[in-house]
Structure formats: structure tokens, C-alpha cells
């Protein structure tokens, strides 16, 4: 009797498991969205998650006609946590695609478990130079930029507008130095001075006094999150903006602008996207995003929305098979979709070829402070590293 019930239980379990296996064979795409959802930079992760979910929802829960399952995880902006979660997503949740990662240190950490498990890593923001160059990987795709590009764009703009002396401000860590190197690559004028405040510095009065004394024609700033908010407010309070206009990248966007407010008026930014871009897909995106979430999307939301739509287009092209790695890789590279940022294509290193825009922060008649697109600085721009990339096959 006991043996019988054991056999029965085994049979039942086998039937159940068989059912699960049968279900898995039905077409389904499983996506891991690993992003930063806690800590001071959590709003970025929120935008990435909401942008992605909006695209999935607009597709009726089926990107490219394939039932889409999104598993969201919080990387806490910690590379060690990212490794654990990427491994868990790949091994337990059996994801075929990993996305959502915002920060380059997290991306570098999460790449290894993704490659080991043959998971496509499609980064909606992080674009470290290593992965664009020597360490480029057939498993890694970037849909936003190579990190240096917004800085190169602003350097190119200041060069073209004949600005003679620029003062540079960036945080004292690798990405800060890289950013300024990117800027100097495109800007050939005089560097009036450079300040590298430490990460999480609160008060920039000392740096602002140095800028005033150096008398440059412009100041170029790369300070993300709270540092950027503090600097911009203090710069405006020092009344320097009229004499020495402030240009920046990754400093003022839809996320930080509400905290900066009028202090940002009259400053310029470079970005790959802005809410006012006159592209039908973008107009639709901005309206739908605001309607669903009740706040303005940032470029992070736009990049993530684009990433989801790229995945949808690739799935459609590959006949819904995310498991046929070679076919899906080819489909990703050739997928056509109307990007919210304008033209979009992949370069040989799986990094995008796209436009960069000059934005200005203005105050509207009603008192609303927002960014407007002034011009396209770079058209179909490629990064500086793809020449070093010798892309391997899958």
C-alpha cells in the first residue's frame, strides 16, 4: 500500500512536471530586469523599470507577439549583489535576456554570469569603454551610448561655437576622468582649469570661487545625482551663469530638474533624447508614459522603452525564438523599430550609431522649468572604441 501511494505520488509529480515542461515549450520570452531600485539613485531604476513595463504593456504583454515574463531585481548599485542576482536570474528564472543595468561597474560585474549562461545582455544605459573596444562581446549590446559620447558631443559643440576657454568639473573617480578625456578629445580650445571634487561632496563653494577667478568662457560639468543638483543650485546662487554659462552632461535631466528648479534655467545639456523630440514614436511615448505613471519620463525611461521595443522587433524577426541564440543575435542586429531618439542602428561592436542633441533649460510663461532641444550636435555618431573591437562569433 505504501509502495503504491509512493508510485502514485511519483506519477502525479511526473505528470505535473511534464505539464510544466510542456508549458515552457510554448513560446515565451523571459527577461531579467536588473536595475538600481534602492539608495539615492533609485529614481533612475524606477524610470528604467517603468519605461520597460510600458512597452511590454503596449504590446499586450507580448513583445514581438511572444508571451513576455519580466523578473525585476534590485542591484543596490553593488557589483557583488549584481553578480549574485544575474546568476540567480539566469539559473533559476532561466532568463534569455538580461537588461535594466544603469551603472557601468554593475554592468561589468553582471556580464560574466550572463555570458557563462548564454544570456543576451542588452544594456539600456551603461556603455563602458572596455566593452565597446577590446573586451567587446557577442552577448553584450548597448542601446543608449558609449559612456564618453555625451561628453564628446558637448566638446564638439563648444569647439564648433568658438568657445575659447573652458573650466572642467567632474567627480574624482575613473568615470569622471574618462568623461573629461572624452570632452578634451573633441574640444581643442584652452582648458582654463579643472576641479575633481570627491564623490558625495556637498558644498562646491570652493570650486565655484576657483571658476570665478579663472575667468573661463564656459564651465563644463559632469556631476550626477545629488552632486549635480547641489552644484547647479550653488552655481546659480553665486550669480555666475550670465558671465560663464554652464554646460553639462548626466547632470540635469527630467529626474534632477524638479530638485534644481529655476537654478537650471539658461544652462545647456547634451543628451541622446529629449521629451520634445518631434518623432511620432516619441510623442506617443511621452504622452502614454505621463498618463500611466503621472510623471515626466527621463532619457533613462526612454532608453529602456527603446530596449523593450528592440527586443520585440528582434523576436518578431526571429520568429519568436529567443532560444535559438544565433538567429536571435542576427535578429537583434537587424531589427527595425522606430526609436524614440531618432535614427538607431548597431555598430560593429553592438553599440549604437545615433544622434546627440543640445538641450537648453528654459522657464515657460506659466513658470514651468523644462528642457528644450536646440539642435542636433552629432548625427549618426559612433564611439571612439569600435576600431579596437574584434567581435567573436557566438
Amino acid at each position: 500500500m505504501k509502495l503504491n501511494s509512493l508510485i502514485a505520488a511519483t506519477a502525479a509529480a511526473a505528470a505535473l512536471l511534464g505539464g510544466v515542461a510542456a508549458q515552457a515549450q510554448e513560446q515565451e520570452v523571459r527577461i531579467g530586469l536588473l536595475t538600481t531600485l534602492t539608495g539615492p539613485l533609485a529614481p533612475l531604476g524606477q524610470h528604467v523599470r517603468d519605461g520597460f513595463n510600458l512597452a511590454v504593456e503596449e504590446a499586450g504583454g507580448k513583445l514581438g507577439g511572444v508571451t513576455t515574463k519580466v523578473v525585476v531585481e534590485d542591484d543596490q548599485l553593488r557589483p557583488d549583489v549584481a553578480v549574485q542576482l544575474a546568476t540567480k536570474l539566469a539559473e533559476r528564472d532561466k532568463i534569455q535576456i538580461l537588461t535594466g543595468v544603469i551603472f557601468s561597474n554593475v554592468a561589468m560585474a553582471a556580464l560574466k554570469p550572463a555570458v557563462e549562461n548564454k544570456v543576451f545582455f542588452i544594456s539600456p544605459n551603461a556603455g563602458p569603454s572596455q566593452l565597446a573596444g577590446k573586451q567587446c562581446s557577442p552577448w553584450f549590446y548597448a542601446t543608449a551610448w558609449q559612456n564618453d559620447q555625451p561628453h564628446e558631443a558637448m566638446g564638439a559643440h563648444l569647439q564648433a561655437s568658438g568657445v575659447k576657454k573652458v573650466y572642467l568639473v567632474a567627480p574624482n573617480y575613473n568615470a569622471g576622468k574618462d568623461a573629461m578625456r572624452g570632452f578634451k578629445g573633441a574640444y581643442k580650445g584652452t582648458i582654463a582649469g579643472e576641479s575633481y571634487p570627491s564623490m558625495n561632496q556637498l558644498d562646491f563653494a570652493a570650486e565655484i570661487s576657483q571658476i570665478r577667478a579663472a575667468k573661463p568662457d564656459a564651465v563644463y560639468v559632469f556631476l550626477s545625482g545629488g552632486m549635480g543638483v547641489n552644484f547647479t543650485k550653488q552655481y546659480a546662487q553665486a550669480r555666475l551663469g550670465a558671465e560663464i554659462p554652464m554646460y553639462s552632461a548626466f547632470t540635469i535631466d527630467a529626474i534632477t530638474l524638479p530638485a534644481v528648479g529655476e537654478a537650471a534655467v539658461g544652462t545647456f545639456q547634451s543628451n541622446l533624447w529629449n521629451a520634445d523630440l518631434k518623432i511620432p514614436a516619441n510623442e506617443k511615448f511621452v504622452a502614454a508614459f505621463q498618463k500611466k505613471y503621472g510623471y515626466l519620463p527621463s532619457n533613462y525611461a526612454a532608453q529602456s522603452y527603446d530596449t523593450a521595443r528592440l527586443i520585440g522587433a528582434a523576436l518578431r524577426l526571429s520568429g519568436g525564438k529567443a532560444d535559438d541564440k544565433k538567429a536571435f543575435a542576427a535578429a537583434l542586429r537587424n531589427a527595425k523599430f522606430e526609436s524614440v531618439r531618432g535614427p538607431f542602428a548597431f555598430n560593429s561592436n553592438n553599440f549604437p550609431v545615433g544622434n546627440f542633441y543640445l538641450l537648453e533649460t528654459v522657464k515657460r510663461a506659466g513658470g514651468k522649468v523644462e528642457q528644450v532641444t536646440r539642435k542636433t550636435i552629432l548625427t549618426n555618431a559612433k564611439d571612439n572604441y569600435f576600431g579596437d573591437c574584434n567581435m567573436a562569433g557566438l
Binding site: 539615492p40 574624482n172 576641479s195 571634487p197 563653494a205 577667478a213 543650485k233 550669480r239 530638485a259
Partner: protein, 287 residues
């Protein structure tokens, strides 16, 4: 020369802000022998509450007053619920518990106000600049120096000229003795804790228009505050003032004269040197 003067002014202003934080914390640590890591969280609470009160009332001064009062109440609540049972426990327990408060209140603030940074504008009257030796220095920063100086003078008078101040000094010097003399130590502790919270709130609210109001904003300033009270001598308000100004000026001047990264090390170097020659700080309060 005018650049040097300007940087000195910047250092003075930063130092005065640190003093507001340090004066409260040095009393709490010195008198109650209680390590309160949540002091930075009270700084954050003051800023968040003032932003909210300003939205509700539209009046900066009212928001300032209400923000300070509400944070003092919050400080009192923390004293009664968390600090009181911990006074007799060892420092590690206090550190663990007050660290827990940091995590708890940071998360609570995120749930109430969200994780996007908030904005508090400079009051209209102070939204300009004053000409000092050819430099247009922001009036708001001068106002911070003035308010902090007034607080410093007020604290000095309270501590040296009043009965309460005498008890505070006695408490810092020899706690057992003042209990033996029949002083209501529980009330004194509660008062000092609430006053510390109010000073932290004042610092947070004054800082709000210059810095970002967001969760975790108190964590970084807490570290600098701890450096200040260690340099100044724990329990000494005068020491806190001198040390805060030293840290403010050295940090500012170091940042602009030394290569990137070295300037920020200077204040820790200063702390190490002072701990080496004067392990109890510049103005030790205990006998």
C-alpha cells in the same frame, strides 16, 4: 588675494554649518555618554519637515520654526523610546540601535516623500549677493554665517551664565556627582537631546536651499560631524566651534590648493594628529 579671502569665507561658512551639527552631538555624546549616530538623520528630518511645512504654509520663517519644533519632538520621542533604555548599555549596543534608526527613518522618508530629491528655494530677500572686497558673495551664505554665529553666542551664554548651563557643564564633567546632588538627570538628558535635535534640524533646514533634500542626506554630514567633535573634545561646545571652523577652512583651502583627492584627506590627517598629541581633543570637557 581676493580669491584667498573668498575661499576663507567659504571655509568659515562651511565650518559654521558643521558647528550647528556638532554642538548638539557633542553635548549628547559628552553628557549622556550616548553615541547617537542618528544625529544626521535628525538633520535630514528637519529638512524634509521644513520643505513640507513650506509647501503647506508658503512661509519660510514659519516652515523654519515648525521644522525645528517638529524635529525637536521627534528627538524627544527617540530619547524616550530608544535612548533611555540604552544609557546604561555599552557603546556597541547604542551604535547598533541608532544605526537602526538611520535605516528606519531613511526608509520611512523614502516611503513618505519618495526617492526623488526635493527642492527648497532660497528665501526671496536673501536671493542675491553682497559685494565684499570686489566679490559678489551669495547673501544666503552670509546669512548662514550670521545665524550660526548667533547660535554660537546664544549657546555660549546659556552654558556659561545660566543654571541649566551649569548643570550641562557639570554633567559633562562628572555625571555621577550631579546625580548624587539630586539633579533630575532624566529631564536634563531629555532637554539636551531635544536641543541637539533642534540644532541638527536648524542645520538641515539652512542647508536645504544649498544642498539636495533627499533620503540619506544626513549620512555624509554625520561623518564630518563626528570628526569635528573628536577634534574639539567630546562634550565641549567651545571645542566644537573651534574644530568646526578648523575643519571647514582646512577642507576648503585643501581642496583648492592640493591635487584632487588629497584635499579631502587633510581633515582626517588633522584628526589623527590631534588624537596623537591630545587624545581627548583640543578642549577636553571631562576632568
Amino acid at each position: 588675494m581676493s580669491l584667498f579671502l573668498e575661499q576663507l569665507l567659504n571655509g568659515l561658512q562651511f565650518g559654521m554649518m558643521l558647528f550647528l551639527m556638532a554642538s548638539g552631538l557633542t553635548l549628547v555624546v559628552g553628557i549622556m555618554n550616548f553615541i547617537n549616530l542618528a544625529h544626521g538623520t535628525l538633520y535630514m528630518a528637519g529638512a524634509f519637515l521644513a520643505v513640507t511645512f513650506q509647501l503647506l504654509t508658503g512661509n519660510y520663517l514659519l516652515a523654519l520654526g515648525l521644522g525645528i519644533a517638529a524635529t525637536a519632538l521627534l528627538g524627544l520621542l527617540i530619547e524616550v523610546l530608544v535612548a533611555q533604555p540604552l544609557y546604561k548599555r555599552d557603546h556597541l549596543d547604542q551604535v547598533l540601535c541608532t544605526f537602526g534608526i538611520i535605516l528606519f527613518l531613511n526608509e520611512l522618508a523614502r516611503m513618505i516623500w519618495g526617492s526623488a530629491p526635493l527642492r527648497m528655494d532660497v528665501p526671496k530677500v536673501l536671493d542675491g549677493s553682497v559685494d565684499i572686497a570686489g566679490i559678489g558673495y551669495p547673501s544666503y551664505r552670509l546669512a548662514i554665517i550670521a545665524v550660526s554665529a548667533a547660535v554660537a553666542i546664544g549657546l555660549h551664554l546659556v552654558i556659561t551664565r545660566t543654571r541649566l548651563g551649569m548643570l550641562i557643564r557639570a554633567g559633562a564633567a562628572d555625571r555621577t556627582m550631579i546625580v548624587g546632588l539630586g539633579v533630575n538627570i532624566q529631564l536634563l538628558y531629555a532637554l539636551v537631546f531635544a536641543a541637539g535635535a533642534a540644532l541638527a534640524a536648524l542645520a538641515g533646514i539652512l542647508a536645504a536651499p544649498i544642498f539636495t533634500v533627499q533620503t540619506g542626506m544626513g549620512d555624509h554630514i554625520l561623518i564630518l560631524t563626528l570628526v569635528v567633535i573628536v577634534i574639539g573634545g567630546i562634550g565641549s561646545v567651545h571645542g566644537a566651534l573651534v574644530a568646526a571652523l578648523l575643519v571647514g577652512v582646512i577642507d576648503t583651502v585643501g581642496r583648492v590648493t592640493l591635487p584632487a583627492g588629497f584635499g579631502n584627506v587633510l581633515i582626517y590627517l588633522l584628526m589623527a594628529m590631534i588624537l596623537f598629541w591630545r587624545p581627548r581633543g583640543l578642549f577636553p570637557a571631562h576632568g
